[in-house]
């Protein structure tokens, strides 16, 4: 059975996980928590190395996904202040649209190059929508459009943050699983060594 993870990675499910895969609202799978290491290790036919390897692979996948989402989060965190700034300007224009006086402004023509301009009170404004597209809007419409954009961006950001939290949970669970399986193995080897050395002592006596 092939499972496609959110980031496009494909994972083959092993024969011992025949249950349904639980996912979060946006399809990120939940990891299996190892209740009892002894029980888990006796059920699986793989060796300790294979099991640890499998676990570490899963952690690596989640960390990769986490990186992608963190980048997405940073992108949104940059976009939101931009939208807010544009919204502030539109609100300012709305507040002065009825006055007769023209607005004196200094604006950025280019990096480190500023120019002075006089703007007459205006009823419309041009919004850059991306992809080389710019549209004229009435002030009120422009304000509403920007407010919608801002809300959408903030909602996306909240979703991404929630997904990142979920991923962090899965990574932590997996890392704890790895630590416990490793510790269990260390103890098992130590016990085996002690029993072995006791047997040798018995033989010598």
């Amino acid at each position: 059975m092939l499972k496609v993870l959110k980031s496009g990675l494909i994972e083959k499910s092993s024969s011992d996980s025949s249950e349904e895969v639980v996912t979060n609202p946006r399809g990120i799978p939940k990891v299996q928590f190892v209740e009892n290491v002894e029980e888990y290790m006796s059920k699986t036919s793989s060796t300790i190395e294979v099991t640890l390897g499998k676990f570490q692979e899963t952690v690596a996948k989640y960390k990769f996904m986490e990186l992608n989402y963190t980048n997405r989060k940073k992108g949104l965190e940059l976009k939101i202040p931009e939208i807010k700034k544009t919204l502030t300007v539109v609100e300012f224009l709305i507040s002065t649209q009825d006055s007769d006086e023209s607005i004196e402004t200094t604006f950025e023509l280019n990096d480190t190059l500023w120019a002075a301009a006089k703007i007459k009170s205006t009823k419309t404004v041009y919004l850059w929508l991306g992809a080389n597209v710019m549209l004229e809007y009435e002030l009120q419409e422009a304000k509403e459009l920007l407010e919608t954009k801002l809300t959408t961006a903030q909602n996306s950001l909240n979703c991404v943050v929630e997904d990142l939290e979920f991923m962090r949970e899965q990574i932590t669970t997996m890392e704890v699983n790895i630590a416990r399986v490793y510790n269990w193995d260390v103890k098992r080897r130590r016990v085996a060594k002690t029993t072995q050395s006791e047997k040798t002592l018995d033989m010598v006596e």
Binding site: T86, E165, E169, T172
Partner: protein, 134 residues
């Protein structure tokens, strides 16, 4: 990850409840770092606004009542009266203070939650678990 001595080992098994506590701690920790960063940025903004207010008051004292001041709105500067500029700055400062207070409260509640979880987890696992910021 570090190795502990054999005498520091704990026999305690990790239950699902423990795992959930550990996960909560991790989540809270990440949230805390995030908020701490945002708080630092806003605190700096607040200091800039303080400097700005001082400058504006100085200008007022110099008696340049008529002169327009270039106030940054969005990405461009708009020439507005000293009074307007001072008003806008004060409003922004108020808004920022509210945000700073909210962030501070969140950080405090997160710290309290984390301390509670630390007591629980250290109580059960002792040296077998590490919950400190490195």
């Amino acid at each position: 990850m570090r190795m502990i001595n054999q005498d520091e080992e704990v026999e305690a098994e990790v239950t699902w409840e423990d795992q959930q506590n550990i996960n909560s701690f991790s989540k809270l920790n990440v949230k805390f770092s995030d908020i701490e960063e945002r708080y630092g940025e806003k605190k700096q903004e607040d200091e800039y606004l303080d400097d700005l207010l001082q400058e504006l008051e100085q200008q007022e004292l110099l008696g340049d009542e008529g002169e327009l001041v270039r106030y940054k709105i969005g990405d461009a500067f708009i020439s507005i009266t000293l009074e307007d500029a001072a008003q806008r700055t004060k409003r922004e400062k108020e808004f920022l203070s509210e945000e700073l207070k909210k962030l501070r409260n969140e950080m405090d509640s997160l710290t309290t939650e984390m301390e509670k979880l630390k007591v629980l987890l250290y109580g059960k696992f002792g040296k077998a678990i590490n919950l400190e910021k490195d």
